[in-house]
């Protein structure tokens, strides 16, 4: 028996023993665990599952053991993921700390900072949000104006951030601030970790077209930040920012893949087709409306092709051992455009039944699809617009002239 086969057996055993029953059921809209000081669990099993996995470091399976991570190899991590999928266990923790901040800290933070922050991320004790964008700076992130001025052992921060996800529920925020007002655009930016539990930090939810408010505006008024919370060097925050953005894009890219698992299962049908069949004429399992059918097929094929590409690039990366590559720009671009398209097709298939807001005879799934359709419109904007991705591809990958 090879080490990996042994690992697979042990892992399966451990998961079967330790995953609480509720956590083997499919995820519900409110069943996600976001962690943090004020974490609310909608079921006690969520807390248990987070605690057990967090202690083992398996919320961050490949992170080093010394900071509380799982310390798993690439292959072991793959096995863990496969076994979790096989057992149908839920994701224990959704966290911008895990997806974005953590990887950047591992690369850029001091030993003290790592010891301080990473274990709390892994255990879900601190919930993080991102303070990058500002009202005047969208795609042109580096034009940010929020200022941090040195004052003894602290920075004093003033300014405004926007698009801070769930900032009103978060404990800490990682921000880009201007510390060198004289320096060229990209060279005067620093990366600060700010505790939000202070008078100088206020948040205000932004209402979106979907009706939800997953984002906030966040205001800093003489907010106090100890200097130990500066990550990497002063005025060199842009290095951290770029690294972190790549992790963000990777995360966002995976959003386009919702339908692809179903699509790659063959005869069992795709999610899009199964949904559509409830609303359109079907004969011998075939959708009669050929125009719609071709659109669904095109979309399913794109999902399929996209998931094969993610797999290919990950297999290629495995050998070359590089971090996120320029190809992540393709994923962000394609994932978000594809997801938008998928929802437009759903709307077409469902007709008026997907256009409800309230009242009437809409099922909860239908109303959720309407809102989610509106939500997808942000996919190609957040984390770098599609236009920025196209610029990146044409300049960095294709090397086209400026």
């Amino acid at each position: 028996m090879t080490d990996l086969t042994l690992f697979r057996e042990e892992t399966r055993d451990w998961l079967e023993t330790n995953c609480p029953p509720e956590m083997k059921k499919p995820m519900t809209p409110h069943g996600m665990t976001w962690g943090g000081r004020n974490c609310k669990f909608s079921h006690p099993d969520q807390e248990l599952w987070l605690k057990r996995l967090g202690e083992k470091g398996w919320t961050a399976p490949t992170w080093p053991k010394e900071y509380g991570g799982g310390g798993l190899s690439y292959d072991e991590n793959k096995i863990l993921a496969e076994e979790m999928t096989n057992l149908g266990t839920r994701m224990p923790l959704a966290s911008f700390g895990l997806w974005m901040l953590g990887p950047a800290l591992l690369e850029y933070a001091s030993e003290e900072q790592k010891m301080e922050h990473i274990p709390k991320i892994i255990k879900g004790e601190i919930r993080w949000c991102q303070g990058y964008s500002e009202p005047g700076s969208g795609s042109d992130l580096a034009s940010l104006k929020t200022k941090a001025i040195e004052d003894g052992d602290n920075f004093i921060v003033n300014g405004q951030k926007v698009w801070t996800s769930y900032a009103n529920e978060c404990d800490m925020i990682f921000t880009l601030v201007r510390t060198g007002p004289q320096e060229p655009k990209h060279d005067g930016i620093s990366f600060l970790l700010i505790d939000m539990d202070q008078a100088g930090v206020e948040t205000k939810p932004i209402k979106l077209i979907s009706g939800a408010s997953p984002f906030c505006e966040t205001f800093f008024t003489d907010a106090v930040v100890p200097k130990k919370n500066l990550v990497h060097k002063l005025n060199k925050g842009w290095d951290v920012a770029k690294n972190l953005l790549q992790h963000e894009r990777k995360m966002l890219a995976s959003m386009g893949l919702g339908g692809s698992k179903a699509a790659s299962k063959g005869k069992t049908g795709s999610g899009l087709a199964t949904l559509s069949k409830k609303y359109v004429e079907v004969k011998d399992e075939k959708i009669i409306d050929e125009g719609l059918r071709q659109k669904i097929a095109k979309c399913d094929m794109n999902s399929h092709a996209f998931s094969l590409t993610l797999k290919r690039v990950s297999e290629e990366a495995k050998n070359s051992n590089n971090g996120p590559s320029a190809a992540t720009s393709i994923f962000k671009l394609y994932g978000s455009e594809h997801n938008k398209q998928k929802y437009e097709i759903m709307l077409e298939a469902m007709g008026s039944q997907a256009l409800g807001w309230e009242g009437g005879e809409f099922g909860p799934e239908e109303l959720a699809i309407t809102r989610e359709w509106l939500r997808t419109k942000a996919n190609s904007i957040e984390g770098g617009t599609s236009e920025v991705q196209l610029n990146v591809i044409s300049k960095r990958v294709l090397d086209l002239p400026q």
Binding site: G291, S352, G360, K377
Partner: protein, 373 residues
């Protein structure tokens, strides 16, 4: 055929434009939307529109209207579409007025048309029976019982069905479709109101042994097919005009944003990739203008090609409004998906308007059939 606005139409357009800018800018839409008012429109504003003659454009002069024809009401809807003005004009002033004018008996006309013209009566057309447009009635039936008819079955997504005083019902009778009139408060009518994503009103209406007396039969029993098809086409052309207004406004809002918003030290409208996309949208809009104008005037000029031209207009503007509302949101960036900016409102309206009375694919299909393939 005339593809240029008549003087009357130009006057109506001008008048409505002023009205919409002053009385019903998008802030009016927002206040109606955010109010507790379940009707989704403002009765006071509707009264003012009626006073300006907008509700009676398709009604003969003898019944208090101006009889300015579809070209007239088309430009009005276009201007109201620009500001997303919520009003019963489409379901009442276009559909209701057309049905009653075309096939109402003298006493039905006497009773209802002046009330529509003066803004006191609203109507709706209970036609669809599912979530996708299908111009064939199969589920709602009317059975003869003595001199009366008994209606049973359920209609879906009736535009303005949540508040309209008078319901025009299309139902299957023994040899074909027939039309009936019913007061919304009649026994046997159950109305389930829905607010759609565009914050307009729609309803599912269930009829349980609704009894219709002879004076409320509209037109000939079993003979409504041609009239229904004609009114559906009138409705589609009118809707296309409203959509053109929405698309033009969404486009202009976006172009203005491109001229204002700065990124990387320049206006984002200077980025060539956005410019080309904007130019393509402009081109599509120019085509839509011609199609919509033609689809309105072809009725007034009694063309023999009406169904094809209407399908052309509804399909083209459906695609184009879809495109422009998507591109508009994207070009606005982050603020485009916030409720604070107007562009998202057009996105929502675009999808509902695209869907009702036949989406683009439906009309392409119909165009092909009418062209002989």
């Amino acid at each position: 055929m005339s593809l240029v606005l008549s003087e009357t139409a130009a006057f109506l357009q001008d008048q409505t434009q002023r009205f919409a800018r002053e009385k019903t800018p998008t802030s009016h839409f927002r206040s109606v939307r955010d109010s507790e008012n379940p009707e989704c429109f403002d009765r006071e504003i509707w009264k003012q529109m009626a006073d300006q003659g907008l509700s009676g454009i398709l009604i003969p002069e003898e019944f208090g209207g101006s009889n300015f024809g579809l070209s007239g009401i088309g430009v009005v809807l276009q201007e109201l579409g620009r500001t997303l003005t919520p009003s019963p004009l489409f379901a009442t002033g276009v559909i209701g007025a057309s049905f009653l004018t075309k096939i109402g008996t003298d006493s039905q006309k006497q009773k209802y048309l002046p009330e529509i013209a003066n803004g006191n009566l609203t109507t709706c057309f209970a036609f669809e029976e599912g979530p996708r447009h299908k111009p064939i009635i199969s589920k709602v039936t009317a059975e003869k019982k003595g001199k009366n008819y008994i209606i049973n079955g359920k209609k879906s997504f009736v535009v303005d069905g949540g508040f309209a005083d008078l319901i025009i019902i299309a139902a299957k009778t023994s040899k074909g479709p027939s039309l009936f009139l019913a007061d919304k408060n009649s026994k046997g009518i159950d109305i389930n109101i829905a607010k759609m994503v565009d914050s307009r009103n729609s309803a599912n209406i269930t009829f349980s042994d609704l009894e219709i007396s002879p004076e409320n039969i509209l037109g000939e029993i079993d003979q409504a097919q041609d009239t229904i098809e004609e009114i559906l086409d009138i409705s589609r052309a009118a809707l296309a005009a409203e959509m053109l207004g929405g698309a033009l406004e969404a486009f202009e809002i976006t172009i203005n944003y491109l001229k204002e918003r700065e990124q990387f030290g320049v206006k984002i409208g200077s980025f060539q990739a956005l410019q080309h996309r904007a130019a393509n949208m402009f081109t599509e809009l120019e085509l839509c203008k011609s199609c919509v104008l033609e689809s309105l005037s072809c009725f007034d000029e009694k063309s023999n090609d009406i169904p094809r031209i209407v399908s052309l207009a509804k399909a083209k503007i459906g695609e184009t409004f879809h495109l422009i509302s998507n591109e508009g949101v994207q070009m606005h960036g982050g603020v485009g998906v916030t409720d604070e900016y107007d562009i998202g409102l057009y996105l929502k309206r675009a999808r509902v308007a695209e869907q009702i009375f036949g989406n683009s694919e439906f009309h392409r299909n119909r165009y092909a059939e009418l062209t002989g393939y």
